[in-house]
Subunit: 223 residues, 2 copies
């Protein structure tokens, strides 16, 4: 099983670099969040909302992970202190960010001036759950049009999440999504996960998310 | 670059098994379609609609690929001649079906009685583009709530597609999606791809998809 061994080595090497990334972030008191979801569930929109709502309270940097293109980095440029785009297309793993991709990006961010680092992972519910990046918290976004069965079909990413966001609540009248069933499925996998219902489009529910982020950053700063 | 070599070997081994799968399908005159998309874009719904609309004209088998669960297989059971569920959770590659996962599944399907095999890949816009399964055609589904930038951000899967489906057209009044921009992006990557606009929920646009499938199966049968 040559492949299994290689994968094992890659995962272990990734853990080492992830720990190094986190130490660097801790030295500079930067709180980092790894944001994961399916393509199009609203990672970039959540980052835009977070920037709009918190830019006067926190200095925020953003790392954008995509297979290709810089469209997301362009969207968040206005309110962030620093934005780095990582394209994974020609990297050994294209379906997720890895700690070793973050390491050089962190060197390009003025960490002393930053309170919060938002890392947008590649749109994917499978690969990103395997690779720690050095983040302090892991967030998964599910959006109503995807259906309420995602925790059942992609359990790993929900098991490791600190918070789960149900996005696109504005579409509730137009899609079939059983919020209670979704919440039960998440709680069955991960009873500790905070769950937020919100709409990045209308701003509904953003206030609670904003408070949660502020509390997280604050508790990190006084550690 | 030990990993690159291993990956290369895996891809080559996959191609060999994929060719073997296709030969087996050809011997039995089974036409196979590999259906790929993000999680929740509508692969299962498209299969359900196709079964409902074609069960009196064609004998259809379904292979369901998921990381975990059998919820999709249960949904399509009624109108299919055979349904096989593959869970990739503990397989060497969990983010896509591979040809070697299909091979044993094909042994469990009465191929002589089947005209059309619909293969639902794992919900993912990245990994499935790397692994041929032995299919005759590759379909990508994009759904309106995901946004119109998916071809730009996940180009590979669109480059290799024979057809691209824009699903959830019933949500057009409620989401921001520029159909012309999406069509231009697909055409820029892959001018040959057929593009279908439809809603698996309302049935809008299904007729053209139905005709296309029938024409494909017919041309395969008379080869």
């Amino acid at each position: 099983m040559k492949r299994i061994e290689v994968i094992q080595n890659i995962l272990e090497a990734n853990e080492t670099v992830a720990r190094r990334n986190q130490q660097l972030l801790n030295v500079h008191r930067v709180f980092a969040i790894n944001i994961m979801s399916s393509p199009g569930a609203g990672k970039t929109s959540l980052i835009q909302q977070t920037l709009t709502n918190l830019k006067d309270r926190l200095n925020i940097a953003v790392i954008e992970g995509d297979v290709a293109s810089t469209v997301d980095a362009e969207k968040v440029q206005n309110n962030a202190k620093a934005v780095i785009q990582i394209n994974t297309r020609n990297m050994p793993e294209s379906c997720s960010l890895m700690a070793a991709m973050l390491e050089p990006a962190l060197k390009d961010i003025p960490l002393d001036d930053i309170d919060l680092l938002l890392i947008e992972n590649v749109g994917n519910l499978i690969c990103p759950s395997e690779f720690a990046l050095g983040e302090h918290k892991r967030i998964v976004i599910s959006s109503l049009p995807e259906g309420d069965d995602k925790p059942i079909k992609y359990p790993l990413i929900f098991i490791d999440a600190n918070a789960v966001i149900i996005n696109k609540m504005d579409l509730l009248p137009y899609v079939d999504f059983d919020i209670a069933a979704f919440r039960r499925a998440v709680a069955g996998l991960n009873p500790e996960a905070e769950i937020f219902e919100l709409s990045c489009k209308t701003g509904e529910g953003i206030e609670r998310w904003r408070s949660w982020i502020l509390a997280q950053v604050k508790s990190n700063a006084i550690k």
